[in-house]
C-alpha cells in the first residue's frame, strides 16, 4: 500500500521513540523559555526542562486544559512573537472565550504535510478531484483538508459547507472523486441526490474523509452504501492543529496518530494517572514540533484507547480507536461543541434563578438534532398562551445565537426532569452508538 512519508510512517518503535524524546526535550525547553504560563507552572511544581530524560518523564509535566487556554486569551500562550505568526485560527467562541491558535510558516508546512499524510492513507492521490465541504474560515477543517489535498497534488474544489444543491451539482458535473466533510453533511448530500433522482453509480465518487463529529460503524455503512464510497475517519482538534492529528488508513482498524509530531497518552480522567497500553481513558496530546502554539499534555476530553502494534497497511504509527465518548458533559452535535454551562447562562432569569433543564441529542432522519428541555414554573404555564410562546421563541433564538446550532426548546412542567433518584441528568445522548439500537425515550 502506498505511504506518503515512508521513512517516518514505517519507523520501528524504538526509532519513533528516539525522535519523540529528542523533540520532547526541545519543545519542553522552548515552552519553558518562551511561554510564561509553562514557566510559572514548572516553577510552581519544582521541575525544570532538564527533568525530562525519557518519554516516561512526560508524566512529571503538568496538564494543560481548555480553561488554561481561555485564561490566556488571546495570545498569552504563543511561543513566538506575533510577527512570526502567519495564520490565526480559533474556536467558534460560541461557548465562552474562544481559544486562539497561531501558526508559523513551519507550522503551516507541517500541517499541510500531515493532512496530506492522512488523506493519502485514506486513498486520495494526485489523480483525485477533492471536494472540501468543510467550513472555511476561522474553523480549521476547510483549510486543513484543502492544504493537504493541494500538497498531494489533487484537484481541490473548496465548496465549503452548506448549499446542498450546489454540492450535488458540483459532485456530478465536476466529477468529484473524493469528498471531505462531516458524516452528517455527506448524508444530507446523499438524501438530496436521492430526491433529485441522481444515481450514485453515475458519479465518480470513491473516497470520503469524515470527521469533526461523533459517528459510528452504522453511519459509515450507510454513507458508503448511499454514496458508493470508501469512508474513513480522521481526528483532529483546533487547539492542537485541526485535522491531521490522526487518520484511518484503508485497513480501517484505528486512526494512525502522527507520532513524529504528537505524543499521545491515555490517562484516567479522574486521577490523571497514565493508564497501561490498551486501556480506555482520556486522550492527552503533547505537540512535538509546533513553533507558534506548542501544548504540553493537553487534555482533549476525548475517550479512546491506543494500539502500538504495527498495522496491516505497513504503517507503524500507533492507532487510536474511534472517539465515541467525551469525559465531560460536552455534546458534539454536527461538529459543534455544546456545553451545558452555556445553556445554563441562557436560562438565567432576571431574578437570578435558573430553571432546571436537560440537553438531549438525538438522531432523526439521519441527522443529529439537539433539544433542550426546560422546566417552567406553574405560574408561567397558567399564564397567557401568547406570553409562553414568546418565551419559547426567545429561548430558541438565544440558543441558536449562543450555541451556534439550532436547538429545539421544549417547555416541560415542573419536576418532570428528575429521575427516580431525584437527580437530573444534564446531558442525554440518544444517538445510536456502534451496533446498538437507540434507547427508547
Amino acid at each position: 500500500m502506498p505511504v506518503w512519508n515512508k521513512d517516518i510512517e514505517t519507523l520501528n518503535r524504538e526509532d519513533i521513540e528516539q525522535l519523540q524524546l529528542e523533540r520532547l526535550q526541545a519543545i519542553v525547553y522552548r515552552c519553558y523559555k518562551n511561554v510564561s504560563f509553562y514557566k510559572n507552572k514548572f516553577d510552581e511544581i519544582g521541575i525544570t526542562p532538564d527533568d525530562i530524560q525519557s518519554l516516561d518523564d512526560l508524566s512529571k509535566l503538568p496538564f494543560t486544559t481548555k480553561d488554561d487556554l481561555r485564561e490566556s486569551y488571546p495570545y498569552g500562550m504563543f511561543a513566538v512573537p506575533l510577527r512570526e505568526i502567519v495564520r490565526i485560527h480559533s474556536s467558534s467562541g460560541a461557548t465562552g472565550l474562544p481559544t486562539v491558535v497561531g501558526y508559523t510558516r513551519n507550522d503551516l508546512e507541517n500541517w499541510s504535510d500531515l493532512c496530506a499524510r492522512i488523506m493519502f492513507a485514506a486513498g486520495v492521490t494526485r489523480d483525485d478531484v477533492v471536494q472540501i465541504a468543510f467550513d472555511y474560515g476561522i474553523f480549521t477543517g476547510g483549510f486543513g483538508f484543502h492544504q493537504g489535498a493541494e500538497r498531494i497534488g489533487a484537484s481541490v474544489i473548496p465548496t465549503s459547507v452548506g448549499h446542498t444543491n450546489r454540492q450535488v451539482t458540483i459532485i456530478k458535473d465536476y466529477k468529484t472523486t473524493a469528498i471531505a466533510s462531516t458524516p452528517n453533511c455527506a448524508l444530507t448530500i446523499a438524501e438530496r441526490m436521492e430526491k433529485l433522482n441522481i444515481d450514485p453509480k453515475s458519479l465518480n465518487l470513491r473516497v470520503g474523509l469524515f470527521g469533526a463529529e461523533q459517528w459510528n460503524e452504522s453511519i459509515r455503512k450507510e454513507v458508503e452504501e448511499r454514496l458508493l464510497i470508501k469512508a474513513t475517519d480522521n481526528y483532529g482538534l483546533s487547539e492542537i492543529l485541526g485535522p491531521g492529528v490522526a487518520g484511518e488508513c484503508e485497513e480501517r482498524c484505528g486512526l494512525h496518530i502522527n507520532e513524529d509530531h504528537f505524543v499521545a497518552e491515555i490517562i484516567d480522567p479522574k486521577t490523571g494517572k497514565k493508564l497501561a497500553a490498551g486501556a480506555e481513558g482520556e486522550l492527552v496530546l503533547t505537540t512535538l514540533t509546533k513553533e507558534g502554539f506548542p501544548l504540553l499534555r493537553y487534555r482533549t476530553g476525548d475517550v479512546t484507547t491506543l494500539d502500538i502494534d504495527p498495522c496491516g497497511c505497513g504503517r507503524t504509527l500507533a492507532r487510536m480507536a474511534r472517539v465515541m465518548k467525551r469525559t465531560d458533559d460536552i455534546l458534539i452535535v454536527r461538529g459543534v461543541n455544546v456545553y451545558p454551562s452555556r445553556v445554563r447562562e441562557i436560562l438565567i432569569q432576571k431574578d437570578g434563578n435558573i430553571p432546571e433543564f436537560q440537553i438531549v441529542a438525538y438522531r432523526q432522519d439521519n441527522k443529529d438534532n439537539l433539544e433542550v428541555k426546560v422546566e417552567i414554573s406553574e405560574e408561567l404555564f397558567l399564564d397567557e398562551m401568547k406570553q409562553l410562546r414568546t418565551y419559547h421563541l426567545q429561548l430558541e433564538r438565544a440558543m441558536q445565537k449562543s450555541l451556534g446550532i439550532a436547538a429545539k426548546v421544549k417547555l416541560v412542567e415542573p419536576a418532570t426532569l428528575r429521575d427516580e433518584n431525584g437527580s437530573i441528568k444534564r446531558v442525554v445522548d440518544l444517538r445510536p452508538r456502534n451496533g446498538e439500537t437507540p434507547p427508547a425515550e
Binding site: 528516539q18 525522535l19 526541545a26 526542562p49 530524560q53 510577527r83 508559523t104 513553533e291
Partner: protein
Amino acid sequence: MLKVRSLKVNYGAIRALKGMSFHVSEGEIVTLIGANGAGKSTLLNTISGLLRPTSGEIMLEDKPIHRLSPAVIVRRGISQVPEGRQVFSSLTVRDNLILGAYPKMRVSSRAEIREDIEHMEELFPILKERERQTAGTLSGGEQQMLAIARSLMAHPRILLLDEPTMGLAPIVVSSILTTIKRLRSEGVTIVLIEQNAHAALSVADRGYVLETGRVVLDGTVEELLENQEVNRAYLGKGYKEVWE
C-alpha cells in the same frame, strides 16, 4: 545508526550538557549548530570517548559505546576531526596520514596503508603536492584537509567534524563543504558541528540547534532556515529585520 539519549556531561562543577538527545541515520549529514558554550564540542568529545557522561547513553547500532575508550570507539568506526585541526606540525603530511592509520596498524598491511594514502591524495590533490612538507607549513585550509584525510585513514563509518570551516577564507570554506558532500557520497555518515550556521545548513540534511547544553530545535534544513529564531541568532539576520 548513532543515537544519543539524554546525555549529561560535567566539566568539574559545570554541567556542559544537560540532557541532550539526537540521532544520525546512515548516509546523512547532520549538523549541530549553536553559539560558543552551547556544548557542541563537549558533545563530540563525549561521543569520541574523550569525556565520560554522568548519565545518558550513546548507542552505535544499538550497542552502547559511552563506556568505551577512544581507541576502541575509533575501531568501531567513529573518527573525529578535532577543532583547530591539530595536525602534527613538525611531521610531514605523509607521516600525519600514516599516523591516522594507527588504529589499523595491526590489521592492515603496509600496502593497504599506502593504497589508502593514495586515495586520500586523490581526494585532496593538494596533499600530494605537499606530501614531503611539514604540516606546520600548510595554510589553514590545507591543514583542515589534512586533518580530515588523517581521520579518514581509519576508515570511519561516521566522521565527526568539529568546526572545520573555522577561520578559513570563504573560498576555502566552500571547498571544505564540497569535500564533505563528496565524503557522504562515498558512504561516510557525517556529524558536522558549526558556529557558521550558513555553511553548515548549506550541506546538511537535518540539523539541531543547541543552546546551553540542550537541543532547542530540530528539523530539516528547510525548516531551520525558515525559523525566525535561527535567522536571528545564528544566521546574522538583524534583530530589527526579524522583529519589526
